[in-house]
Amino acid sequence: MAGQLAPLLAVEGLKVHFHTRDGVVRAVDGVDFQVAPGQTLGIVGESGSGKTVSSLALLRLAPPPARIVAGRVLFEGEDLLRQSDKRLAQIRGRRMAMIFQNPATSLNPILSIGQQLTEILRWHTGVSRQAALDRAAELLALVGISDPAARLRQYPHELSGGMKQRVGIARALLCEPALLLADEPTTALDVTIQAQILDLLAELRQRLAMSMVLVTHDMGVVARMADRITVMYAGRVCETADAATIFNAPQHPYTRALLQSMPRIDHSYSGARRVLPSIAGRPPDLLHAPPGCRFHDRCPEAAPECRRVMPREHLLAPGHSVSCLRRGSPGEDAP
């Protein structure tokens, strides 16, 4: 189903580097992905894989010392990396909006919920204060907050974590964006609240025909939410495919190892010897990124060439791309 539609968002060759005192950290080093209209793309990876920096870079929000050094972010016909700050401010929150990981720190503690929501609406659309308040109340009701009129007068500290995240979602949806970026939207929440928020996001996406980029380290969350999944490791994309393929027929050795290494809530481990297939070692330090494939020193299938040649993403089957020399990827041209 993907592939036929013209993408709403196409990221090409994105590189975001951190210029630090100790050297250049290649946090995102040549990343491609696409999102079709109405589709949800899950970007999964461990801390340091570059998933959050990639998503922040889409709206040029990655904080210094991050620097976008290459690539294109094509969204609704414009390359966002080449637009003026003024133009970008028009797009942020209006066409592409973001939900942050920690609702406690992404809301302004000294503004009421109403002030925070109406400010955005009035800035983007110039509607009257009353119209903005009505719309804000409407959105709070949409995200399942009871007594919205009263909530508009409350401050963030008066709300629970789950409520704050609902406000964060309402804020992102105020202008009916075409694309919603959600960076670990449920990681800070308890599991039963996480389930409520995921239900809410799934329902809203349907109702508003929105596209979504969901960034998470939780394979369970992407299995439940995503149509397509991009797996990142050490600043590079390992594999992209539809969700069923990633889980049922993963091709990249990292994707496979990661899925196998997680204990499963639906498996019994009694009786048997308790050993999870684990990935030896740890993710590389990107200040000294290893040459060749970033995963080679932990990879059970690594060949000598993997130590020298960086694999380039190639199409294994329609809609399924992999970056692995052992799966037929060509080597990257020398930079």
């Binding site: 461990e46 801390s47 340091g48 629970s160 789950g162 409520m163 308890d190 599991v191 039963t192 609240i193 996480q194 389930a195 409520q196 995921l198 239900d199 380290h217 939780d218 394979m219 369970g220 969350v221 299995a223 439940r224 995503a226 969700a243 069923a244 889980f247 190892a257 990661l258 899925l259 290494s261 997680m262 204990p263 499963r264 809530i265 639906d266 498996h267 019994s268 481990y269 009694s270 010897r273 308790r274 050993v275 999870l276 297939p277 684990s278 990935i279 030896a280 740890r282 993710p283 932990r298």
Partner: protein, 327 residues
């Protein structure tokens, strides 16, 4: 058979000042841990699960008297050690502490940044002195090897290690004095996913090797299922369901347990949605609902649930749940 560790009626309440105009100056009670009891045999693992604020960490800390409990018994081999831990006889206290050790969630915060790893591991040996001083270096090297670290790296400082390696040090430090019980408070939560399985494997292997018993605290039910033989589910300071891990995961009887398990997204796309949807959020432990504390969120609540607080009752050969209308 006398259990290795038995906790009976453990209670920890906090008095807190109420906020607000009218109630200012009055105090409320947070019942952080309320009448918690369980049994742990050598070589077993009890997984202690629940959402934040349910009292699982306070329970573990009260067992070691890191947080002094208000009431209850901590029976180690049948003897109540709570008075000893809280008492003034340092020798007796240390003898109990040696048998029960704690591994903290964040290995970075629980290691002294100015001590080398060797120094960190020497400390429990110095305090508890299970061996002669001349054997310490050999013991430290052996410990590092046991947890999968190179003994020659013992001269390094915590900041030179990754999170997974630091947690290995935390585990080595707990094992240094050959405890019978180790309380593990979210030991893998702060680690990268590809490193978590390494630490879980290490914990399982050490248990098989040493026969040590674990109390494993976590909100990650998948890792609980992997490491635990038994599981206790806590809600608002109470154990609401307890028993053998496979029975509880296969057939939870308390509706909160069912909701908790079904809230975990399974890594299989298109998995059949059998979720128990929960209304609302966990109430504050200060305003615990009357009757069954879970009734306002429970889809199976009966009128009796509003009035009478259910006690734990046998539900199967190896499980108990506190519910008037079990699933």
């Amino acid at each position: 058979m006398t259990p290795l560790l038995e906790v009976r009626g453990l209670r920890k309440h906090y008095r807190v000042a109420k906020r607000g105009m009218i109630e200012r100056g009055q105090s409320g009670v947070v019942r952080a841990v309320d009448d918690v009891s369980f049994v742990l045999q050598a070589g077993q693992t009890l997984g202690l699960v629940g959402e934040s604020g349910c009292g699982k960490t306070t329970t573990a800390r009260s067992i070691l008297d890191l947080v002094p409990a208000d009431a209850g018994e901590i029976l180690l081999d049948g003897r109540d050690v709570r008075p000893i831990l809280a008492g003034t006889d340092r020798t007796a206290m240390l003898a109990v502490r040696r048998r029960m050790q704690y591994v903290f969630q964040d290995p970075y915060l629980s290691l002294n940044p100015r001590w080398t790893i060797n120094e960190a591991l020497r400390e429990p040996l110095r305090v508890h002195a299970p061996q002669h001083q001349r054997d310490w270096d050999g013991r430290i090297a052996a410990l590092l090897e046991t947890v999968g670290l190179e003994p020659r790296n013992g001269v390094r400082y915590p900041h030179e290690f990754s999170g997974g390696q630091r947690q290995r040090v935390g585990i080595a430090r707990a094992l240094a004095v050959e405890p019978d019980v180790v309380l593990l408070d979210e030991p893998v939560s702060s680690l990268d996913i590809s490193v978590r399985s390494q630490i879980l494997n290490l914990l399982a292997a050490l248990q098989d090797q040493l026969g040590v018993a674990y109390v494993y605290i976590s909100h990650d039910l998948s890792s609980v299922r992997f490491i635990s033989t038994h599981v206790a589910v806590m809600y608002l300071g109470r154990i609401v369901e307890i028993g053998a891990v496979d029975e509880i995961f296969a057939r939870p009887r308390h509706h909160y347990t069912a909701a908790l398990i079904s809230a975990i997204p399974v890594p299989s796309p298109g998995a059949v949605d059998r979720r128990v949807h929960l209304r609302g959020e966990v109430p504050s432990a200060m305003n615990r609902p009357t009757g069954c504390p879970f009734h306002p969120r429970c889809a199976a609540a009966l009128p009796i649930c509003r009035e009478q607080d259910p006690a734990l009752q046998p539900m199967g050969p190896k499980t108990q749940a506190a519910c008037h209308n079990p699933a």
